[in-house]
Structures are given as C-alpha cells and as structure tokens.
Subunit: 140 residues, 4 copies
Amino acid sequence: MTFRTTLRVRFGDEDHAQMVYYPRFLHYCHQAFEDFFDRQGFPYWVALREEKVGWPAAHAEIDYRRPVRFGQDLGMEVDILRVGEKSVTFRHRGYLEREPDAPAFEAEIVVVTMDMSTHRSIPIPDKYRAFFERHLVDAG
Amino acid sequence: MTFRTTLRVRFGDEDHAQMVYYPRFLHYCHQAFEDFFDRQGFPYWVALREEKVGWPAAHAEIDYRRPVRFGQDLGMEVDILRVGEKSVTFRHRGYLEREPDAPAFEAEIVVVTMDMSTHRSIPIPDKYRAFFERHLVDAG
Amino acid sequence: MTFRTTLRVRFGDEDHAQMVYYPRFLHYCHQAFEDFFDRQGFPYWVALREEKVGWPAAHAEIDYRRPVRFGQDLGMEVDILRVGEKSVTFRHRGYLEREPDAPAFEAEIVVVTMDMSTHRSIPIPDKYRAFFERHLVDAG
Amino acid sequence: MTFRTTLRVRFGDEDHAQMVYYPRFLHYCHQAFEDFFDRQGFPYWVALREEKVGWPAAHAEIDYRRPVRFGQDLGMEVDILRVGEKSVTFRHRGYLEREPDAPAFEAEIVVVTMDMSTHRSIPIPDKYRAFFERHLVDAG
C-alpha cells in the first residue's frame, strides 16, 4: 500500500541555478516521512517526544532525474522496501504533475530504530513493525 | 569593541531570484552570534549544554540595503546596543568587500536570557553581563 | 480581507533548543506570501518568470511571542498595512491551534516592486495594486 | 591529491533530535565542493555566471556513521573517484576532531557537466578535466 502526500516547491527551495537545490530533496523525503506517520495514526512527534523512539537515517541514495522548480507541486509516494530487525528501508518518489509516470527523483533511505533517551538502536516496536509491513512493496 | 567574523555566501543561499533569500540573513546573524561567543572564550554550546543558559530571540528587525550573492564574502560586525536585566540587544551588520563603508544589511535582534532546563527567562549571569558590556556601543 | 493559509511545522525546522529556529519564521512568512499570490489568481512564479515582476524584502520586523514546535500547525494570517507607490507592507501572523486569539509570532515586511530583468524598483503594476488594496487593513 | 576544508556545525543545523538533520549533510558536501573549486583557482561562481558551466547532481549516496552535533568542526575531505565523458564522481568525507581516522559520514555524488544557458549536458571542458584528474583517487 503506497502512501501519497503532496508537497509544494517553494521560492526559497531553488538555488543559484534556479532549480531545487539537491540537498533539499532529502528534506522533501523527510517531510513525506513525517506525513506518512502523522496521517496514518502514528504522529511522529508523539513517537519522538512521548514514546522516545525515532528513526534517524543510516544510509540514503537518491537519483535526480529531472529538474524541479519553484511553483510546482511534488506528488510524493512512500513505500517500504524492507523491514529488518532494527532497520527499515523507505522508498520516496516525487512526481511532477505533467509527468505522472516517471518520477522526477527517487530515493531509498535506510533508517534505524533508536531509543531517543539513550541514542541506542533498538528492535522495531511491534506496533510500528505491523504499520511498516502494511506498506511493504511485494517483490513477487 | 566591535566583534568581526567572515561568512561565505553559499550557492544554496540564493533563491529563485538569484539573490540571497531574505530569511537567510537572520541565519547569517545567528552564525555571527555563535562566532561572537565561540571565539571569545564562551563557546555557545557549552552555555547551552553544560550551563543550561541560552538566548532565544524575542524581536528582530532587519534592513536589506543591497542584494548579496553567491560567491561573496560577508564581513560581519557584531555590536551590543543595550544590556538589560534579562535581555540584550545585538546589532549585526554585513559588508561586501567592494563596499566597506555601507552595510549590505543591518539587523537589531533582542534576545532574552533563558534557563534551558525550564525554558523560563532569567537575569543575565554575571560573567555574561561583563562579556556583553565590553561590546556595548557608546552612545556619547 | 485577511488571507489565511496553514503551514506545517517540520522536524527539521527546530534547532538545538528544540524550538523553531528563529530565522525559519521569515521562511514561514515567505511561504504564506507565496500562498497569498498563488491561491488568489496571481501565481507568484508567473509574476516572476513571465511578467518579470517580483517583491524582494527591504525591511522586516518580527516579534517572537511563544515557542513553536515540531508537529504543530501554524495558522497564518496575511494582511496588508500599506500600499505605497512602489512598496507594500505585509503583516504576517502565525497562530497555534490551542491559542487562536494570540499570535505566536507577528511580522511586518516591507517589500519593493522590482523589475526582475533589470533588478530596478518600479511602480506597482495596476492589477497588483488593486489586488493588494483588497487586503488593506482599515485604519478607521 | 585530497582536497581538505573545514566546516563549522551550526546551531540551526540540528533538528528536533539534537543531531544534525540528515539532509544537511548534503549541504555540507556542496559547501566542500564550492571550496574545492574556489580555493584551487576555479571559483565556482565564475564557472556558473561567466563560463555558463555547472555540475548539478545526478546521483548521491551517503552513509551516516556517527551523529554530528552543534559546536563541532567537520574536517571535510574531497576526492574524485571517476572522471567520465560528461560526469564526475566526487567522494566527500567528514571527520570529527576526536576521531580523525573514521569518517562521521561519507558520500559519493555523481555530477553532470551542464551548459547553464541551455540546461543540457556537455562534455567536461578541458581545463576542468585536467583539474578533476589531479584529484583522482588511484585504484592501484
């Protein structure tokens, strides 16, 4: 089950070359990741502040396929490629309205479950494991 | 006694209009504020993390006089205009190399001394009061 | 006629002190300013890219009244305080849901109409003057 | 020949979790990339604005190995892993002072040479090819 959210590309997101500054795409991924939690019954701030669990990134890979510009909407798709013992691999794809079939960029981000009090990695809590597994992309 | 530091204007600091995005100037002010502490024997992270004292902004005013662009160095000047019971008014001015006499922008920022454990305002600790007063601009 | 839009406070908007980093509030103001144009029939990117007219900031003042945190929605209100020959004074106020009567922050930003080809200030084009005047706060 | 530069980790670079926000590491990479050009006789703004050549990212991969925090200096190392017909693969590594042997993060970024007037990819101009090849990491 793919999760979808829309982000607005902002005036300040572009850089000197008048295209979105490439580090900003990971900021889009994180915002889609926040919406993924927030809009499906698991507000991320509750996880962080009350349950003291978070998912910092351990690895990120991103393909930049087309320039993205100020004034466009980015249709973001979030899937999960793998749920491990402690880690989860998210896939984030961003689409421009005029090209609904080919993502403007695509990222894979491995996050690790962390106890935010001790800053140590921990196994994924059961309720989050079930939540993540519902978004697994089937291989077959 | 004016404190001086230099900041590099970065590729990603510009916006769609190919000038520095105006909110970024307050980020320059904060970086100059950090250098002000760090390079004069009062590392700001020590204040925040060990002494649990910080200075969040209560008010900021900024005049944007000339466009600032990627690839330029900003010569920053930091002065203090007023030291109150709990608050301090900083003045930040940024100069481009080719115009050493007229700031490209000028900001006044009122910060309040805060106990970072309780998030309540407190009187300025003595050692910081003495430090700030050394940077007061004389009116007379 | 007050314009309203809602912005989401993001995980990455906070700083070391776990409150929104104060320069980011001007970024919120600019995003509300973009929505003000975009959602009322004057897409800002069309102004900039096709009509070659833009409104860079000449002056900004901002009062920070309460801390704003990750996971909150900011209800933004945009009004216009003054329409001059070339300049316009915007007022931006941001409200947290639990305190609908007292803004968490309030900013006044003076922007100047600029020909984006020449980077020179110009009188406000008629259609934008009429648009801005509809949002003027009445003094009387 | 490895290029080295130092970046300061700023107060506003941290996020809610009081560690550097992971998208910001690519911003560090871009700043190191700018210094790589600027400090070795090829100012990046001259390439972009006068020669109309630039190197946008096509692909980025990054490993986050240790948390990086406000108040630290990041010793950045820049190497080149591959010089292609049009593309160049940069490696960026960031070191904390107390761990000089193990990078806190490591990134590989593939950039493509672009004619900034037409936004089309072009072969690497000779002077830049020679420059990049001087920084190639030897495989043997």
